[in-house]
């Protein structure tokens, strides 16, 4: 008993520190977002709000274009997530299983594109989107975000596919499953943690993307959250309450996605696959 306690106490303490480090910034942002402006910038910061107000949320959601930005971000992020998962799954499976000339080269090229600084593509990409008539259109952001997320997603998913025994596929093939059937019925359920990971990765990549969204989108009606929020908080006069309320609302979809997909979805699918 004493031996177990000797291990449990330091472990518990370490977990507590880790949780504090992870949760504290979220708590700080949220708690400050419900403080009065004077308390937010008070000389001595308060751990618990001494004043409680929802005025910053009212200003954010009722008197700014933030709800529009939120809606746009959701459309772009979900679009990016779905397309990235679809393309990356097929690409990763193809690179992992199919034998064709230049396979290794193609795989390396995909990795190189991920290493290439996207910011260098700003002007040519703007020019390209302009030629296609996609400037100031959300679809332009989906295209860009998919190109940002897909290379890493392919690489990650390919690593997941490698862990799946080839015999399972062969058995399915003997039972008459088609290539697509093998992907859908065998590979995807077994690689579910990987699929969930790349889905979250694609969503967050798109949700937080700033540079291309700021250049390719011109009108306020099509702005996404990172760019829209940066604009409404001001430059010379920063509205700290608005900034904190915006940060809280911005973090929510990501937290919800992690809560839903990151655990339940992965656990449920992998458990089903193993059975």
């Amino acid at each position: 008993m004493a031996h177990r306690l000797r291990h449990a106490v330091p472990l518990g303490f370490a977990v507590l520190i880790l949780m504090t480090v992870v949760i504290a910034p979220f708590y700080w942002i949220f708690s400050a977002s419900v403080k009065a402006p004077q308390e937010i910038i008070a000389r001595k910061p308060t751990l618990f709000p001494q004043s409680f107000t929802l005025e910053h949320y009212d200003k954010l959601l009722g008197h700014s274009n933030f709800p529009t930005y939120l809606q746009n971000s959701l459309v772009v992020a979900f679009g990016t997530m779905v397309i990235t998962v679809f393309l990356s799954t097929l690409a990763a499976y193809g690179l992992y299983r199919l034998r064709f000339p230049g396979r290794n080269l193609l795989f390396r090229v995909i990795l190189i594109t991920y290493a290439f600084p996207g910011v260098l593509l700003l002007v040519p990409l703007y020019d390209m989107m302009s030629t296609l008539g996609l400037v100031d259109r959300l679809v332009a952001l989906v295209i860009v975000d998919v190109t940002l997320a897909a290379p890493f997603a392919v690489w990650m998913l390919q690593a997941f596919f490698r862990t799946i025994p080839q015999e399972l596929e062969e058995a399915a093939a003997l039972d008459g499953a088609s290539r697509l059937g093998i992907i859908v019925r065998i590979m995807l359920p077994l690689a579910a943690p990987g699929v969930a990971s790349i889905a979250i990765f694609a969503f967050i990549t798109s949700w937080t993307e700033y540079i291309f969204a700021s250049i390719l989108i011109i009108s306020d009606a099509n702005r996404t959250v990172p760019v829209g929020l940066a604009g409404i908080i001001g430059q010379y006069q920063v509205d700290w309450g608005l900034l904190l309320a915006g940060a809280t609302v911005t973090a929510l979809p990501v937290l919800v996605l992690f809560g839903l997909v990151g655990r339940n979805f992965v656990e449920g699918l992998t458990a089903g696959a193993i059975q």
Partner: protein, 431 residues
């Protein structure tokens, strides 16, 4: 009857052939897109009110605003120009204009500015920041100038007079630094705010000219070294987090009484909404100067609007809109999109009822008067002494004044060595 019918048909056919090639008629609206970088919702709303009024009074023109961000406009505008999507009107600060002018996108407007000057009388310094290479490249719209902000009660309690000279300033800062309070808040971030505060000290140390008249750099001179030395002395009494500051953090430091003084364009909105909001206690003064300096002053940014279209009909519509904004009955409302920050650049605008009757301006009238007075001695690095050198855009974009300061206050170099290194960096940048 048949002849009439035939004539009518012929006329109709001719009309159908000619009409598409005719210039815009009264029915065809001329569309003007206006990019500005004033994104906070209340500023956009105020601009929209004025745009709606203009559009209603001018049914043949449709002005549309699109708020952009200063952070991206340096990339976005050239990209839009290259792709043929540029707006007809684009806001500017002096060191942004040369970048677009070099792309051949900016229309000269000296004749139009002369027309407006005859009606409203521009302050000469406002036009000067946009006049070089034999042309004027933008129409001034408002000015922003730094001042020294303080609380009268804090000074009274410490027995400190408002400093006028550097010696008085250092003494005041030292006296005011006590438990929980720093005598002054000055930034040391490699960012525009630091460029601005450094230049405040350069102006008031007699080092406002960065260029010689022939365009060579004269940054490395004894006056600049003294200004950097003074800044480093003030910095010792600034909060420890000031190396990461931009304007917002400095204002928060002042609003929560941690900083007894700051250099800022304005603190009025923040002081009114996030601090005491007592106009009797809010002090504003000119930035102290080194004794013996003949022309003290402050950094000032004249914000202007560039015309990017070469289409005559669009140019005419754009000019009509700018004229509308500068009419005294509209101009004050335009400036008060951010009361107490945007200062008039025309004589009739400075006395316009529409400017002075805004509730916040009424409340802080004495402070606004001092700000206006300070702004008349405003200047901007690279745009002084009747010489304007567009290469300053490169120096400004790389925040080389701030970088030089960091060598002193963060890396511990001597001001003389840092200024020498700073000039070398500037020469390399503009090569």
């Amino acid at each position: 009857m048949r002849n009439n019918l035939a004539k009518s048909i012929v006329l109709l056919v001719i009309a159908l052939l000619i009409l598409p090639h005719m210039p815009a008629t009264a029915q065809e609206k001329v569309s003007i897109t206006f990019w500005h970088m004033e994104q906070p919702p209340y500023r956009v709303e105020r601009f929209q009110t004025l745009i709606d009024e203009f559009n209603a009074a001018n049914p043949d023109i449709e002005v549309k605003q699109e708020a952009q961000n200063w952070g991206e406009i340096y990339t976005k505008a050239p990209a839009a120009i290259a792709a043929g999507n540029a707006p007809e009107l684009l806001f500017a600060i002096p060191d942004f204009t040369p970048i677009l002018r070099d792309l051949g996108a900016v229309q000269p407007v000296e004749d139009f500015v002369a027309e407006l000057d005859a009606q409203h009388k521009f302050y000469p310094a406002a036009v000067a920041q946009y006049t070089y290479d034999d042309h004027t490249w933008a129409v001034p719209l408002w000015n922003m100038a730094h001042s020294l902000w303080y609380r009268k009660s804090v000074f009274e309690e410490a027995g400190v007079e408002v400093p006028a000279t550097w010696d008085e300033w250092l003494a005041a800062v030292e006296t005011l630094t006590k438990e929980g309070q720093y005598g002054i808040g000055v930034p040391a971030n490699k960012q525009l705010y630091t460029d601005q505060t450094v230049y405040d000290l350069m102006i008031n140390g007699g080092a406002d000219e960065i260029y010689n008249p022939d365009g060579t750099l004269r940054f490395n001179n004894p006056q600049t070294v003294e200004a950097f030395d003074m800044y480093s002395q003030l910095y010792r009494f600034s909060p420890p987090d000031s190396p990461g500051w931009t304007w917002g953090e400095a204002e928060a430091c002042f609003a929560n009484r941690t900083c007894a003084m700051i250099l800022q364009f304005t603190v009025i909105t923040t002081y009114d909404t996030q601090a005491e909001g007592d106009p009797e206690d809010l002090g504003v003064a000119p930035i102290p100067y080194k004794e013996g300096v003949e022309t003290p002053g402050t950094i000032s940014y004249v914000n202007a609007v560039m015309i990017l279209t070469d289409d005559p009909a669009k140019q005419a519509a754009a000019k009509k809109f700018i004229s509308f904004l500068l009419e005294p009955e509209n101009y004050g409302r335009f400036l008060n999109a951010e009361p107490g920050l945007y200062l008039p650049v025309t004589e009739d605008g400075s006395t316009a009822e529409s400017y002075w009757n805004d509730p916040l301006v009424v409340k802080y009238k004495s402070q606004v008067e001092v700000m206006l007075d300070n702004s008349t001695s405003g200047r901007l690095f690279g745009f002084t002494g009747g010489n304007t050198f567009p290469s300053i855009a490169t120096i400004s974009a790389q925040n080389l004044l701030a970088q030089t300061l960091q060598m002193v206050v963060i890396d511990g170099m001597s001001p003389a060595d840092a200024v020498e290194e700073g000039q070398a960096l500037m020469e390399e940048a503009i090569e």
